[in-house]
């Protein structure tokens, strides 16, 4: 499987994703410069974390207009895999590939730490190796991870099993304290209706190697293979 990792000006987890895809998964990866228009035949497009255009104006707003995004939209429409992590998730919402928006964390502070997540749906290309209800540990690092979507949309997300991951306490309980950023119903990651476009705030690429004592992220990547 060939991965394409989009590089926007201000992306900063592109190299991390590249490292995991090539060195940990042993797959092929190419960097896709934001000004390009071709996906170079890759099967899965990763929109990595970072601060595309420094998150000025709104996170992901300017990146959503990059030339490469036209190709990404085409890829998604054709059923190809698109995986947005952190800033990548924000870009996907701004580009209209996923519903909702990511707003400022309720604490109005950047938060970088491990959180625990409950696998809400394992019936997707991104979570199929997990058990439903399984509790994962992954790092988050963001200012704007507070997921919001209109009521109507939320119902749809719930009904169609589009909510992938939710912030939870280590025992799997959904408590208010366990929600680090104020996300609606503790949403940490979602997929689109077709199930081929995923966005999530936590960073699976930061927990994919034994040296970090946690390989929950690797399983997420392996689900896609």
């Amino acid at each position: 499987m060939k991965f394409g990792i989009v590089v926007f000006p201000g992306s900063n987890c592109d190299a991390d994703c590249h490292h995991v895809v090539t060195h940990v998964l042993g797959c092929e990866a190419v960097a896709l410069w934001h000004k390009e228009t071709s996906l170079q035949g890759c099967d899965c497009v990763i929109l990595p974390g970072g601060y595309s255009h420094a998150d000025y104006l709104r996170c992901g707003a300017m990146a959503a207009f990059s030339p490469i995004m036209t190709a990404v939209k085409g890829h998604a429409a054709a059923g190809g895999l698109v995986f947005g992590i952190c800033n990548g998730f924000q870009i996907l919402t701004e580009a209209g590939l996923l519903p909702g928006v990511l707003m400022r964390n309720t604490s109005i502070r950047h938060i970088c730490r491990d959180v625990t997540l409950r696998v809400n749906s394992n019936q997707t290309r991104f979570t199929r190796l997990f058990r439903a209800g399984e509790v994962l540990t992954m790092p988050i690092a963001h200012n704007e991870g507070n997921y919001f979507v209109e009521r109507r949309q939320l119902v749809k997300l719930e009904e169609q099993g589009q909510i992938l991951l939710r912030y939870c306490a280590p025992d799997g309980e959904l408590t208010e304290d366990a929600n680090p950023n104020g996300s609606l119903v503790a949403i940490a990651g979602i997929v689109n209706e077709q199930g081929n476009v995923c966005g999530m705030m936590p960073h699976p690429e930061r927990c994919s190697e034994a040296i970090f004592g946690n390989r929950d992220g690797k399983k997420m990547f392996e689900s896609m293979l």
Partner: protein, 79 residues
């Protein structure tokens, strides 16, 4: 020509930053404040052009980039 653009969160959309500022104002002793909403104020300098034309252009900019119309509304003045 100068465009003054106000981008505000739509009614009903929750505003974490506004809430945090509200909280801070209360704790500074400004008990009179009952609500805070935070938006953006953008000033654009435009070259010479017809007012009509400017209105069309600025609307387009807001729709496309300056506001996220899922959660934000906008209005503007031209000077």
């Amino acid at each position: 020509m100068l465009a003054k653009i106000y981008v505000t969160l739509k009614k009903g959309v929750h505003d974490p930053q506004g809430e945090a500022v509200h909280h801070a104002l209360l704790s500074l002793g400004f008990r009179q404040v009952s609500d805070v909403r935070i938006g953006k104020y953008i000033e654009l300098k435009l070259g010479e052009m017809e007012r009509n034309e400017a209105e069309k252009k600025v609307t387009e900019m807001c729709q496309k980039l300056l506001a996220n119309t899922v959660i934000e509304g906008y209005r503007f003045e031209l000077e």
